[in-house]
Symmetry: C2
Subunit: 1006 residues, 2 copies
């Protein structure tokens, strides 16, 4: 454990040091805004100045007022006013992360000892139409900074992009000073934060939570908005903006007072967004008029490359390997995997388009790099003949055999003499042709053309811009390594040049590394601590975590934590698992709370005992070598703070009657047109009751559905779920049990939310299943009704998951067969506050059916399902359980000869019957015994089936049909000349086909 | 000229350096207030924290918003938002000036090269019920800092006192960087102030001056006030205070929009004062309840002095001189003179109360010291006998001659045996007595008792407290030197101990000086650059200024500048006159503007040419040695900025019609009960017209009075006078002339304000005189009516000056004799908006008469006037011109034998007539010729006098009365037995006395 004897800085020293550091890097300081703002980003020095082409660098302190975070000063981690230190770098200087890390050193953070990470966090402020991509920066698991590449502000796309760095000062100080309550922060020598701000914290909390006059603040909001509008008309963006800020603060006050209804919230947001966007646009226009007084940012120049750089690469004598690395600032975990695949595909395709021979392509990736390795690149492309067709021979020479103008032109165009041309046959026609010998390019030449294209075309799910013109990717690309054997493949792309330099861990003694040869590149990285290959990292995490858990006499359920492990794997380049502890007293909290906090917020692996009960331990995975004791202590402190928060919410919630929590749902907007969350909960209750009745649930279940319906989603009004939304349902169950509800009701409440994701548990009770169905039918019917069906990768309301949930539940619960997709959706549609068009409902239905189709195809237990079999049962999809049962039966019947005969017979029937044929016939028109026999068999089958349209029965009884059908077709001319006879025969077949179609789509089996 | 090659700091570096400096001295930084404030003092870190006993040290930046200073960014020196750097030291650390000067060094000010001065400036903020005493700090004539010992805040007396230091950052930066427009300040490397804030400066000016919605802001004010009140009821001073601040800013916005009427202003101020005071009181109470979390300031301990310190002073063999110096932080100029006199008087009185022989006492003083010098202090007091009277002898011994209990008690009380007592006679009675020999105390002993009392009892017109408990003076006393010959007279007072250390100029190589001997102390100071004697300083200033003026081919009118010279004399200890220049173009402005700025704002002496026309030069008087070129340049820059401002106002005013300026008077409160300045101007016009009519002014003069009346005081609505109130009247004349008014009207407008002070010019025209009288009658009648007569030294409305003005004008203008004091006051009373009680009017009249009495007594041209002569003419005071003429005549008649006889005769008459005797008699009741002769002489005299009651005529004609009067008294027994005869004779004498009394109060001449 390293340690310095230096006293940590006080808060004011820290602010001073940051100011000094950033002003030393060309930032200007400004004062905090002199009206209340919720964040430093709202200061005009950010919001206005990121607009337009003018350069800007600023660093300032911003006390950020969040009325909603008021806690009377009693919560050790939460304040109505916290302090942000805000930095804007416009344009992106190319190395903002490095600048940032250096600033941490300045305030006494030993960045070599700590685990500092850039964890995906994309920032958006809908109230101002602003967003950016970036990270939250973690210090030993503690979020200390928001780091964003600002892409849009006030609805305007920013060019150039600004880098925004927002330090959370109180958090940093608590960590640095090792205190667990903000009041204990040493603010200045001899005086604590609590001593300076404690009384204000209490009193302002009182104002925001209890005392603010709602009517007065409503009026203030309107007055401010009106003033802003007038000032926009007067073309004064600066004062207009101050009034937008005043609006925003007033809205926050009203919100903290719980005084904002759904309608008001929507209206207020629309007002504020609108005003902000107008302010931004007007500011831009005014600066334009002023001729951009601070100048214009020039994009960085493309690096100079000698004209003969590629030619100068020594020619290879033998095949050589290629190492191609795209160095990136920390990518989001899921992008790591996707990017590797994208580069692999692009490389394969592009190389495939050349004549360069090469060996295997392998692409690995970590958060900071995508490494492509290609074996045995040939020294050069093979030479080849290139034949170019010229004019037809007939037109190439005149009657005298002299070349025509066309021929001469062709030869000239090819740079040849007429005499050098040859002739080729194209079909029946001879043409003049030029045949050239094309020398293959050198490998370097090929790669120098291919590789920059790959960089230029690299895209992710969500892309951003930075200081490299023309590039667009999930995060900034900062370096490119391209080695062919021992030689650099020289090229430039945007402002980057390829080279032989890579970067390893930022704390390494030599963070930059010169690479001699492409051979063994991944191993070279490993020897410098970087595991470029995700598989290797995952193995290391899994086994490392498991080994550590032994010390706690426990284990990590690596199978269950698979998704989390995948994420962790792509959060680090140099995984360093660390075992931490928390106080046993927190085990009194429901374990879901504890594990949710661990997984979702901290990416810690829970440690279980032999009975799979939670132990007071966790495994955190740091990145790189660090002072493990210190990192452990930091992570433990973070977890302690979060558990303290959770305990606070838990205790507060336990004191709150369930219906009081539920009352808060009126304040939560679900969707503007679909009302509040309370409205939605009401619909769910109503619909569940109808579904329960329809499904014929028993008295006890019906009562459970009704009570759980009354309480539905009440926990969204709890403090715990407000904070940890992933615990919705889980907390409902816990709180309901403790409030004296029956176990059945409590279970139904959690089951309402099940399944949360593919693979999650399904509702265990019928009551829960009915509620869960109601929840999802409501969601589907409502959102399809307002035209919010998912598009592409966008599915903000999780409709795919909802539809899949319906399917899964109905598949799993044949006893609810009377609840069909169509019926459920129609019933849900009736309850919507908007009218639901027929087409919307059909669309929703189709959407659900497609989910079933996919599910059946992918379903592990039906691994052998053919597309045909699934399609065959799909007409039954309205009742997924039946569809599934049928599919199972179909599987069983596969290979059954009798069934095959039946299917074949029915196919014969089906093929001949035109669509739309009425299934009506008259035995009086029969002309022979085969017809009568078929009729009799059909009647007999129908009577044997009764109401049952299941495949099993049909397959069993249907065999009696096979003979008569085949005989019929052998003996009877269906397409008789007499139209009446023909129609009668088709009517008979149509009746048979109709009956069979109720069982299966036989056509699919052919 | 010294110079450093260092680049001056940028503004952000300056703020950083100040923060660093003060945090290094235990100050905490806080952020600016997150709602608009007009000054750093309003930040709760000052306003709330100066309350109560808790210690507090803070330093912070405060962007200070003054909507009224909005100038669209066009004025080079004035901004709607300027930057203050605010420091609070609680308690007073004892050396705040030194700490402050050190801070100036840190931001690159070479304090040895510059002229830095502490110039009296007392701060008060009526809107919050706050005030303090202190200075503005001058850097080469530029006000850069407000330095205040905070005495009261929110109506609460502060204990301990806080030191408040407020740096005006833009001014400091403009001076340091040598730029003449705030926009050119280098704000940060590579970026100017204008580039950062220019657009906001323009746009916020637009809002404050043109665009702010008046109705909306009025509503905001009310809403904020209501919210503040509610929060006070809820006992939440912190949020309540934020709403007080919002009120205040909103008021300022409305004010800048010109939307505040007199009534509204009064009401708003009352609201804000009331709320502020409640906030302060509540904050104090809440901190008390919290047990004062930051502790309590302990007053500094009294220094320890050995018990035998005084006894240990070696006894003198011979008389020795005393040097006694009270060292003070810069006293206001007028206090310097008063303090010297106060110390002299106290010393004389207190030494007089001892038996210590001493020589002459001389006291001199400078801004930083009061030095008392006493010659030849005897080594010790003379010894003497002390006799104490005991019981009467009769009660001292019983019949047996044994001492009674009373006698024994007395002896015991005196510490003597019965036998040691003696007897004394008191009147006729013998008493037992104790006679003791009292040895005189040593000089040191006497002085050690007397001197601390002088310090303790030292008071000024306006006193303050600082960190010395029990002391109260105009400014803090920081050291005491007390030397008797070569020995320290040892004593302590409050936290100070006497010693032999004095302090010379702060820039001296050795700012502290050890003094060996009292002898020659003033010379010793002089040898270290300090002229303790005001006379010496004045001589130096006068001759130095005169000498410098030669270089400009001009002179300084030292006679006319006497008051200014007195002030300058007491602003410096080490006068260093410096000749400066300004650009000739400014000479186009009226010279009064230029000289007013020089004298009033800068204390510069104007330089005149041979024809007494202003030259483009001035003499500034710096304190101490400095880099004269730099100080000159600084002072010139300040003057340039002020003249630039003045030119700006001048040009703006010239574009404004006179009546438009006048319309603004409605916004200026004169006095709550007496209405606005517009109301007062209306009354003056009305009254002047009546007085003109009464005085019988001609047609042309009447027209002049009417037109000037319409315009009266319009220039109070001009920008120039708003800024430089001393130019009221002067600007009226200038603007009126340029607006095409007649010379007569223009002159009358300036004359309305004359005389401005004792010795100032009187109105030159009758019209002007009438207006000036109307102005003053209105003032007197109104303010006496509302009970605001001057008390003690408090005369805020200048009523003494007003009354003296009336007297002077009426004395100077006998042609206005029909305007009397009584008549003018009565007419003015009729026009007041309040009813004027008879007693108030009498009081005002008496007040004016007393001023005449004083004037006549002091008047140089009547140097020989005796009290008697003045009193003799005082009954004529209602017509001051007549009183003065009479006095002149009386002077002429002094020594005239005939007149003496007349006076004696009239005295004989006056003495015998009882008060209230009716002047009626019947010649039929005469009993002898003497009676008839006297009657005839009286009738003859009356007829000769006609209407004339002037003394000259009366003296000439009265001689005929002398004989008959004397004969009458010789021959007639006035007090005859017959009551009718007696009454008749007294009636005759009363008639004569009555006639004489109309001329003079003869009784006073006896």
């Amino acid at each position: 454990m390293s340690s310095t004897s230096n006293e940590p800085l006080t808060m004011q020293e820290t602010l001073h040091a940051l100011t000094e550091y950033w002003t030393g890097r060309g930032c200007m300081t400004v004062q905090p805004m002199n009206t209340e703002v919720g964040a430093g980003t709202l200061n005009p020095a950010t919001f206005l100045r990121v607009q337009g082409p003018e350069p800007w660098r600023t660093a300032y302190v911003e006390p950020s007022v969040r009325p909603d975070d008021s806690r009377y000063g009693q919560n050790p981690n939460r304040l109505q006013t916290h302090t942000q230190f805000q930095v804007i770098l416009k344009p992106d200087p190319g190395n903002p992360q490095e600048l940032y890390l250096e600033s941490l050193k300045r305030i006494g953070i030993d960045i070599a000892a700590h685990d500092i990470r850039f964890v995906e966090d994309n920032w958006a402020n809908p109230a101002t139409g602003s967003w950016g991509l970036g990270w939250e920066v973690w210090l030993d698991g503690l979020e200390i900074t928001q780091f964003t590449y600002f892409q849009q502000a006030g609805g305007i796309t920013l060019d150039p992009v600004s880098v925004e760095i927002t330090y959370g000062i109180e958090r940093i100080l608590m960590a640095l000073q090792g205190v667990s309550n903000f009041k204990e922060i040493r603010y200045a020598p001899g005086i604590t934060y609590g001593e300076v701000f404690g009384q204000a914290e209490y009193e302002m909390s009182r104002y925001y939570l209890d005392e603010a006059d709602v009517a007065a603040n409503r009026e203030l909001f309107d007055t401010y908005a009106a003033e802003a509008r007038r000032l926009l008309d007067a073309r004064l963006p600066v004062p207009a903006y101050t009034y937008v800020l005043k609006c925003s603060h007033t809205f926050n006050v009203l919100d903290a007072r719980g005084a904002i209804s759904t309608t008001e919230r929507a209206k207020a947001f629309s007002t504020m967004r609108n005003l902000s966007q107008q302010v931004a646009a007007l500011w831009g226009a005014r600066r334009e008029e002023e001729g951009h007084p601070l100048g214009r940012v020039q994009p960085p120049a493309s690096p100079e490359l000698p004209a003969d750089a590629v030619a100068a690469v020594p020619h290879l004598a033998e095949p050589a390997p290629l190492a191609f690395e795209v160095g990136v600032e920390e990518m989001p975990p899921h992008e790591v995997t996707q990017a590797a695949e994208a580069v692999r595909a692009a490389l394969a395709e592009k190389l495939g388009g050349t004549r360069l021979a090469h060996g295997a392509i392998r692409v690995v990736a970590s958060p900071r790099r995508i490494v492509a390795l290609v074996d045995e690149i040939a020294p050069r492309e093979e030479d080849h003949q290139q034949t170019t067709r010229g004019p037809k021979l007939a037109q190439a020479f005149d009657a005298e055999g002299r070349p025509t103008k066309a021929a001469e032109g062709f030869a000239r165009g090819q740079g040849l003499e007429i005499g050098q041309l040859t002739r080729i046959a194209v079909g029946d026609t001879e043409h003049l042709a030029a045949v050239k010998h094309i020398a293959g390019r050198s490998a370097a030449e090929v790669l120098a053309a291919v590789l920059p294209e790959i960089v230029r075309e690299l895209r992710s799910d969500k892309n951003m811009r930075w200081n490299a013109p023309g590039l667009s990717f999930t995060r900034p690309i900062r370096w490119i390594l391209a080695l062919l054997g021992e030689h650099v493949v020289p090229f430039t792309v945007s402002s980057l040049a390829s080279g032989r330099t890579t970067r390893v861990h930022r704390n390494a003694e030599q963070p930059e590394l010169q690479v001699a040869h492409a051979e063994g590149y991944v191993k070279l990285l490993a020897s410098h601590g970087i595991l470029a290959d995700a598989d290797a990292r995952r193995r290391l995490v899994v086994s490392g975590a498991d080994a550590l858990a032994v010390w706690a006499d426990g284990h990590v359920d690596t199978a269950a934590e698979s998704a989390l492990l995948d994420e962790i794997t792509n959060l680090v380049e140099q995984p360093t698992p660390i075992l931490g502890r928390f106080e046993e007293k927190y085990l009194d909290l429901p374990s879901q709370i504890l594990t949710t906090v661990m997984r979702k917020h901290q990416r810690y692996l829970p440690v279980l005992d032999a009975s799979d009960r939670l132990l007071p331990n966790f495994v955190a995975v740091a990145n790189g070598r660090c002072d493990e004791d210190r990192v452990r202590a930091g992570n433990e402190a973070v977890l302690r703070a979060r558990y303290e928060d959770a305990a606070f919410f838990w205790n507060a919630d336990l004191k709150t009657p369930l219906l009081e929590m539920k009352a808060k749902l009126g304040l939560l907007t679900f969707e503007r047109r679909l009302g509040s969350m309370a409205d939605r909960a009401g619909r769910i209750a109503h619909l569940a009751d109808r579904l329960a009745a329809a499904a014929g649930l028993g008295e006890a279940d019906r009562r459970t559905v009704q009570r759980a319906g009354e309480l539905a989603k009440f926990d969204l009004g709890s403090q715990m779920v407000t904070e940890l939304s992933g615990l919705a349902g889980t907390m409902a169950r816990e709180y309901a049990l403790r409030a004296g509800e029956t176990v059945e009701v409590a279970d139904a409440l959690i089951e309402t939310e099940q399944p949360r994701s593919a693979g999650d548990a399904l509702p265990a009770s019928a009551a829960g299943a009915v509620l869960a169905l109601a929840d999802r039918f409501d969601l589907l019917a409502g959102l399809f009704a307002i035209g919010s069906a998912p598009t592409g990768s966008s599915d903000p309301y999780g409709l795919r998951r909802a539809a899949l949930g319906v399917i899964s539940i109905l598949r799993a619960r044949p006893e609810l067969a009377r609840i069909t997709l169509g019926g459920g959706l129609a019933a849900a549609a009736e309850l919507q506050p908007v009218s639901v068009p027929r087409e919307a409902l059909d669309e929703a239905h189709q959407f659900a059916v497609r989910r079933l189709e996919q599910a059946l195809l992918e379903d592990g237990s039906h691994g052998g399902n053919t597309v045909e079999a699934v399609r065959a049962v799909l007409p039954l999809a309205d009742a997924p359980a039946r569809a599934e049962a049928t599919l199972t039966e179909l599987e069983r019947l596969t290979g059954d000869a009798e069934f095959a005969q039946l299917a074949a017979a029915l196919q014969r029937v089906r093929r001949i019957v035109p669509a739309g044929t009425e299934p009506l016939y008259d035995t009086a028109l029969f002309e022979g015994p085969a017809e009568h026999a078929l009729h009799n068999a059909f009647v007999e089958l129908r009577s044997r089936l009764g109401e049952d349209r299941g495949l099993a029965r049909f397959a069993a009884e249907g065999r009696y049909l096979v003979g008569p059908v085949n005989t019929f077709f052998d003996q009877v001319m269906v397409m008789a000349e007499n139209p009446a006879v023909r129609a009668n025969r088709l009517g008979l077949l149509a009746a048979i086909d109709g009956l069979a179609a109720q069982v299966l789509a036989w056509a699919e089996l052919s």
